[in-house]
């Protein structure tokens, strides 16, 4: 920590938040709000004279409210930077009439109430998001009585109690009587692994944290009786099983099953747990002097701001989504933005540090050459055709296009930001966008070639490079047989599939057409497949109006791992194809031809 505070290459900004981010990989521009500390960071020696005179006494959040602090304070003894800070919302006011006692007390004259919030701007090449997690707040889990019984505490609170630098100097005491409890019960999975309340995932750290705490308690108080109620103990990491064994060796009892309710004995403030014994199916009761809720972790409550600013995706559990779960675990889908630590998912310190070093290495790898090559699959606007309608800018998942509708200047693509999904080219109403290496003409030539002979016998499939085409490859590797009349046209993203490609295929006599891509939420281009979905729905709508059977146009999400699904989808498409008669195809061709003639005429 202190190294980070004094490293010449690190500008450390505390009490600060990112307010705005613009630009792209290689050249991000950030605006940061640094809130006033009212104490000169470089000059304060953390002597504490000011604290003694401050009349404001409030609960100390760092100690989970288990102790108090003043309005001028240092969050904890080893804080970096070490300078004190004024909690301006709690300060009475510095005018000498009201208070200002600290200003007087500070002999070094470091306290400066004229300090203002500062706005700072930086240009950076890459970004690492390491916003961490919050511990789960068990207030809503009423059956555990966290809000009603003082002797029910969370594991985070226990951490502060057991800490030599904490509010009780390391003495674990009951809040009702200030005495060391003779017995403690831990309850696992609080706020985790529940489909009903809290979070559905395993929080990863609370099993081992409890194991650790039981050992610490046993070392402090050898006679203390400890029970741990759990669903299953997840001691999967290096050295974990050893620690678990040590805990049991010290006499800690691990009991399978979570309490249904906790009641307090009003006389003693002891707690009575009712637990179903999974071995006998009977209800057992356990009396204990203190309960520790092993709370899980969750994404930070305020992460939305950063998420939206950086256009990042999250998984269903709310943590950030990596570019690839196995092969790119610290990359985001946006080039130049990386994840480290619990921002990406619950993990312990070792894993957080490992991931942080990986993220740093990935960032260095990108920055080291000093230049960045941009894959030549990028969009380009034809200024002659563009009417500045702004559609492309709206659909681009990477904000790579800017259109100033007021000045009516043609749309502009920032090549370094364009990831090449082709959504803009598929949505532009004026056909003003050329998607290089996947141009309209190139794709149409493939469609025509495929349908040139025996169109009625073919299944035409548009497949995205990352998911459905990869799913077909996987079907191949698995030697899964499917109808041999399937023909794939590869695009980088399903977002590239222009409605006119579909119409063209039907006009050339295709009995069925399938558009396929990554599952919603897994799109390699953030959310470009949302536009695919909307577009296909538009085509269905139109087909319905023209009297064409909508089932002849399929839309399927197939992941890279779903070879079997690819096979099944192809078999289903073949069934539909067989139901399409030559007359139906002829009629379709007639209808579409008529419309395009009318358009031209």
């Amino acid at each position: 920590m202190t190294d980070a505070g004094r490293h010449p290459n690190i500008t450390l900004l505390t009490m600060s938040e990112v307010k705005e981010l613009t630009g792209v990989v290689g050249n991000f521009h950030v605006r940061i709000l640094k809130r006033a500390r009212y104490v000169k960071e470089k000059e304060c020696t953390a002597c504490g004279d000011c604290v003694e005179v401050c009349p404001v006494i409030i609960p100390d959040e760092f100690n989970m409210g288990l102790s108090s602090r003043r309005a001028i304070y240092s969050p904890f003894p080893q804080a970096v930077p070490g300078a004190f800070a004024v909690d301006i919302n709690q300060c009475l006011g510095h005018s000498p009439v009201i208070c200002g006692k600290c200003v007087e007390a500070c002999k070094k004259r470091c306290i400066d109430f004229d300090m203002n919030d500062e706005e700072l701007e930086f240009d950076v090449g890459t970004i690492i998001v390491a916003t961490g997690m919050d511990a789960y707040d068990p207030t809503i889990l009423d059956e555990y009585g966290y809000t009603r019984y003082e002797n029910v505490v969370t594991s985070m609170e226990l951490e502060r109690l057991v800490n030599a630098g904490g509010p009780t100097a390391g003495e674990v005491i009951r809040l009702t009587d200030g005495k060391v409890p003779k017995s403690v019960s831990f309850i696992q999975c609080v706020g985790s692994r529940s489909q009903r309340r809290g979070r559905p995932y395993c929080s990863n750290i609370c099993c081992m944290n409890t194991v650790k705490s039981t050992i610490l308690l046993k070392e402090h108080y050898p006679d203390i009786e400890i029970k741990v109620f759990y669903l299953d103990i997840r001691a999967f990491g290096k050295g974990f099983e050893d620690l678990f064994r040590r805990s049991r060796g010290k006499g800690v009892r691990y009991i399978r099953g979570l309490p249904g309710t906790i009641k307090q004995d009003p006389a003693t403030h002891d707690l009575i747990l009712t637990v179903e014994n999974t071995a006998t199916n009977e209800l057992d009761t356990h009396r204990t002097q203190m309960v520790v809720l092993a709370v899980g972790v969750e994404p930070p409550a305020d992460m939305k701001a950063i998420q939206e600013m950086l256009a990042l995706q999250t998984t269903a559990d709310g943590f950030y989504l990596e570019a690839h779960p196995k092969l790119q675990p610290v990359d985001s889908a946006s080039r130049g933005i990386f994840f480290a630590g619990c921002a990406e998912g619950p993990k312990d310190i070792k894993e957080s540090v490992t991931q942080a070093s990986a993220a740093a290495a990935r960032a260095m790898r990108l920055m080291n050459p000093g230049v960045l090559t941009v894959e030549a699959i990028t969009a380009e606007v034809d200024p002659e055709r563009c009417t500045s309608c702004g559609v492309c800018a709206r659909v681009c998942p990477y904000n790579a296009i800017s259109v100033d509708r007021a000045t009516k200047l043609p749309a502009k693509v920032t090549e370094a930001a364009c990831a090449g999904c082709g959504t803009c080219a598929a949505e532009c109403p004026e056909d003003a966008i050329v998607m290089n290496h996947f141009t309209d003409a190139q794709i149409e030539a493939q469609i025509d070639a495929i349908l040139e002979n025996d169109a009625a016998g073919k299944i035409l499939v548009f497949a995205c490079n990352w998911c459905s085409y990869a799913g077909a490859d996987f079907a191949g590797v698995s030697r899964l047989r499917y109808p041999s009349n399937t023909r794939l046209v590869r695009t980088m993203c399903s977002g590239r599939v222009h409605a006119k490609f579909i119409w063209r295929a039907f006009e050339k006599g295709a009995p069925v057409v399938l558009v396929s891509g990554c599952h919603i939420g897994d799109c390699h281009y953030i959310n470009a497949n949302h536009w695919t979905e909307r577009r296909v729905k538009r085509v269905w709508n139109r087909m319905g109006k023209l009297g064409l059977r909508t089932e002849r146009l399929g839309l399927e999400w197939i992941s890279a791992a779903e070879g079997v699904r690819f096979q099944q989808v192809m078999e289903r498409m073949e069934q539909i194809r067989k139901s399409v008669t030559p007359e139906e195809i002829a009629e379709t061709v007639r209808i579409i031809k008529k419309i395009s003639e009318q358009k031209q005429g």
Partner: protein, 203 residues
Amino acid sequence: MIAENDHNENIRIGVYVCHCGSNIASVVDCVAVAEYAGTLPGVVISRDQGYTCSEPGQNQIKNDIGEFELNRIVVASCSPRLHEATFRQCVSQAGLNSYLLEMANIREQCSWVHGGNAQEATSKAMNLVRSAVARVSLLQAREETEVPIRRSTLVIGGGVAGIQAALDLADAGYRVVLVEKQPSIGGIMARLDKTFPTMDCSI
């Protein structure tokens, strides 16, 4: 510049049909596919090869590019997800722009999944080559552009992860801006006393 087809360009395509040992050739009649490819518009030379990705296979392509003045290449073999990079490098070594290459996937999408019917598999392979030839004729040379990248990083969050990332980068000589919303860095770890699995102090 907007890519437009240069109609005056004389398209000269080479098609290479790979046996992939017996992976493709045991199902698809590669000789017939190569012969068919030779009849397609723009195709100057077409060959079937044992392993196109092998050194002799690649050298053949490179030689042909020089000898027949080829300006487009189609490789009918495995998935582009596997070997597109290989063949892009191959053609660029022979002085051809790497974007003037197209692959027809006649292994994953053909021989491996239509093993039961050699005839259908062969005619599908021909059709896939037909489609690749149509596409390659329209491909344009592309230059990968280079843009400068700043050698500095913004780290958002000063917990143990943010601190570690910042230190690694800073030690390697990169500038770092470390932004923490609280008055001190440290995050959750700063609140812990002893930590598992080693039971040592956290800070």
